[in-house]
């Protein structure tokens, strides 16, 4: 498949107008950041030329800054309790979900009883998983800022397609904590497909097979005239290269008959050895192995047997996703391999056998996700012409609500194209009932206890009536990041109450601010300066966006609307001088509100324009 034409002349603004936007692959094992460098988007190296940043953070005693990446790796052996790896596996999880797969976690963690949130105890204090992620994001954004010589205007962060709402929400929160403006959360496989791109004439179905350190994703996309449409996606958030290490470690213990009671440092050393063997098997066959006073050898055939169960699981997921996409193997035009673990010959062989064709590997499987995110960031920030390409993604997990008998009724099935909104009407089941409980869940299973609880909320103030007379309309909205919000409206009396529900695990702005405060030593002045800067950027962006919108579509405004907008705009411009971030923010919101009607009208015009050509064709067809 040809590479995307990402550098057509005229499509790109000049260097000076260019905004700084980057793509970040926040991986379980390794993280990367990519940005446009001249004509192409590339991953950025650190000062020593290394592109990958191991997703490892080592916390040091009070006062010393945490070590990240390669600097933290030693800590795995020497200071395992304060060195955190694979934190992505903990994001958005609660106590129950964690206990069954804790072997990778060398740090100690406790579950905060009040909100069931997970906290990791370190010498530098308790850390929530998202704080650890934020520390990784900070290092990457600093790398990018020094490369692009200036602060970032926005980032695209990738997440496994299979991430649920809680995991996405926490990724966003981590970015906020690191002071980043998230343009979009992008699904990793979609990102990989973007990196491989297509010529505008290219069509076809692509399977993206991504086996990373801790997660496994398979997606099928159809590519057509610059539109990437995800047809189906599936995977396993608890399957990755690490599991192959575990299997090998077990095998070593069995073969060598060594003592299997290991302390955390010894265990890490064994896992380290296992991983090295796994990597060696990708280059060499067979390999020699020695552990304690035992030595032996291992070839890929034997390795395939040891890990057969894991390999089978990946193949099963592929079949399932094919089925969801309603495609046969013959209809697949390309396979894209992503993730370091797809370097394993045992995986490549199986994938090739299943799809009966050679997978694409021309882009480094470690970098491909970050590169796609960088391309998308460049488009979203507006550096690239709008009509270059479009991504239509899906929600990976079904969304439902609890009904009688602890069952889940699906409201938005998995693989529905997002954004999506669905409404559902509920009614009271008891006479005089004034409160209704709504429990929102995510997952494919039928029982409430088998799905992930997203939000539980009460609709109050229902007028007392006979059972079944009151009506509550609930709207479930999933946005382009795959994030949910719920809106309930009480209809029976004509007067409607409306509530907005944010899922319970999302952090409130207060919590984020508190964390920000804690994480910055000289908080006060920094915070103020930051708040002011943020409010100025926000205000200027809005003013700029509105002015250019008015320049194009100003004639859509009635005199009254135009007056209101210009008043609100003038007030905001005046406030920009005051350095009062709160006031600037308030007036920005106000101007924003005043422009809602205008936004709707502009959208209509765009729609009419978009179909003008087709409408004429259709009419002439009709006339026949």
């Amino acid at each position: 498949m040809a590479l995307l034409q990402i550098s057509e002349p005229g499509g790109i603004t000049t260097q000076t107008e260019r905004k700084r936007a980057v793509g970040i692959d926040l991986g379980t094992t390794n993280s990367l950041v990519a940005a446009r460098c001249g004509d192409s988007v590339e991953t950025l190296p650190d000062s020593q030329g290394r592109h990958l940043l191991p997703s490892v953070v080592r916390y040091l005693p009070e006062g010393q800054p945490a070590l990240t990446g390669y600097q933290a790796l030693d800590g795995l052996l020497t200071d395992p309790l304060n060195t955190i790896v694979s934190v992505k596996r903990l994001l958005g999880k609660n106590g129950d979900e964690i206990s069954d797969n804790s072997s990778f976690l060398t740090g100690r963690f406790v579950v905060d009883q009040t909100n069931d949130a997970l906290v990791i105890t370190t010498v530098a204090g308790d850390k929530q998983p998202l704080e650890v992620s934020a520390d990784i994001l900070r290092v990457l954004s600093e790398r990018a800022e020094s490369y692009l010589s200036g602060p970032l205007d926005g980032v695209v962060i990738t997440v496994p397609a299979y991430f649920n709402d809680a995991q996405r929400q926490q990724t966003r929160d981590a970015a906020r904590l690191a002071g980043l403006k998230v343009l979009r959360l992008l699904n990793e496989p979609t990102s990989a497909a973007v990196a491989y791109g297509l010529d505008s004439g290219d069509q076809g179905n692509v399977v993206v097979f991504d086996l990373g350190g801790g997660t496994f994703d398979v997606s099928i996309l159809s590519l057509q005239k610059g539109v990437f449409q995800v047809l189906a996606t599936g995977g396993d958030t608890n399957l990755g290269g690490d599991d192959f290490d575990d299997k090998l470690a077990q095998w070593i213990l069995e073969q060598s008959g060594a003592n299997s009671e290991l302390d955390p440092g010894e265990r890490n050393a064994l896992l380290h050895l296992a991983r090295q063997m796994k990597h060696d098997l990708s280059e060499k066959d067979p390999i020699d192995v020695s552990y304690a006073d035992w030595s032996g050898s291992l070839d890929n055939e034997q390795y395939a047997r040891i890990t057969a169960n894991l390999i089978d699981r990946t193949i099963k997921v592929c079949r399932r996703v094919l089925r969801d996409a309603k495609l046969s193997i013959a209809q697949i035009n390309n396979i894209v391999l992503v993730g370091g673990a797809t370097r394993m010959p045992v995986i490549r062989n199986q994938v090739q056998k299943l799809f009966q064709r050679e997978p694409l590997v021309s882009i480094d499987p470690d970098k491909v996700v970050a590169i796609g995110a960088g391309i998308q960031a460049d488009v979203l920030i507006g550096n690239k012409t709008a009509d270059s390409f479009l991504l239509l993604d899906v929600n990976p997990l079904s969304l439902g609500i609890e009904t009688m008998g602890e069952l889940v009724e699906k409201i938005i099935p998995r693989n529905t194209t997002i954004p999506v909104a669905r409404t559902q009407e509920f009614t009271t089941y008891k006479d005089g009932q004034t409160v209704m409980l709504i429990h929102v869940l995510q997952g494919e299973r039928e029982l409430v206890s088998d799905c992930r609880s997203l939000a539980r909320f009460e609709v109050r103030g229902i007028p007392p009536m006979v059972a079944g007379a009151a009506k509550i309309r609930v709207t479930f909205q999933i946005d382009a990041d795959g994030l949910l919000s719920v809106d309930a409206k009480e209809l029976s009396t004509g007067t409607s109450t409306r509530i907005q529900v944010k899922p319970s695990y999302g952090l409130g702005s207060n919590e984020i601010e508190n964390m920000l405060k804690e994480s910055q030593e000289n908080a006060q002045s920094d915070m103020k300066a930051r708040a002011l800067k943020e409010s100025l950027i926000e205000a200027e962006q809005l003013l700029e966006a509105l002015e250019s919108a008015i320049a194009v579509d100003g004639d859509l405004l009635t005199d009254d609307e135009a007056l209101k907008l210009s008043e609100a705009g003038a007030a905001l411009k005046k406030a920009l001088q005051t350095e009062n971030s709160r006031e600037i923010h308030r007036l920005t919101e106000k101007l924003n509100g005043a422009s809602e009607g205008f936004a709707a009208k502009r959208m209509d015009v765009q729609i009419v324009d978009a179909l003008r050509g087709e409408s004429i064709d259709t009419m002439s067809q009709d006339g026949k």
């Binding site: 343009l183 507006g382 909104a421």
Partner: protein, 177 residues
Amino acid sequence: MLLQNKNFFQIFSIPEAYDLDPVLLAENYRELQAQVHPDRFANASEAEKLQAVKSTSVLNDAYETLRSPQGRAAHLLQLRDVDVSKVSQSDLSPALLFEQIQLREELEDIPRDEKSLNKLDHMRKQIEEKVRDCQKLFVKNSNTGQLLRAKSNYYEMQYLFKLLSDMDAIEEDLLGY
């Protein structure tokens, strides 16, 4: 808002008919998406972002509805003021109910082991044939204004599709997905 147009065919500028051109529908859908998708507004004001999320949601819903053979039938009836969410006895003839019960029993009787995959396949073909017949009748009846009959065809279609999706689930079970 233009997308509040209750007629999904008009949203996509395609003729209001059960038999539609899926390629044209898909093209027009993508054309519209390219204008309203939130990715076009990632750097715009909150008001425009919200508008984009709402518009795209409507567009996706309209597209899903028209693409689905059942959804499209329901929508056509709805446009003719026939509410399919309310089933009454008279919508379902005893013959129809009897046939559905028989088909259900036939499905129940297929043993749940891998050897039955062929049997499932066979039954699927048979049902897909019935769906096609039913769709033809639906087109005829809705075009000639026999809306009650069309409504009944719709319910039959719905039964058959439900049966097909249950067969999918059984097959997935057998294949161990």
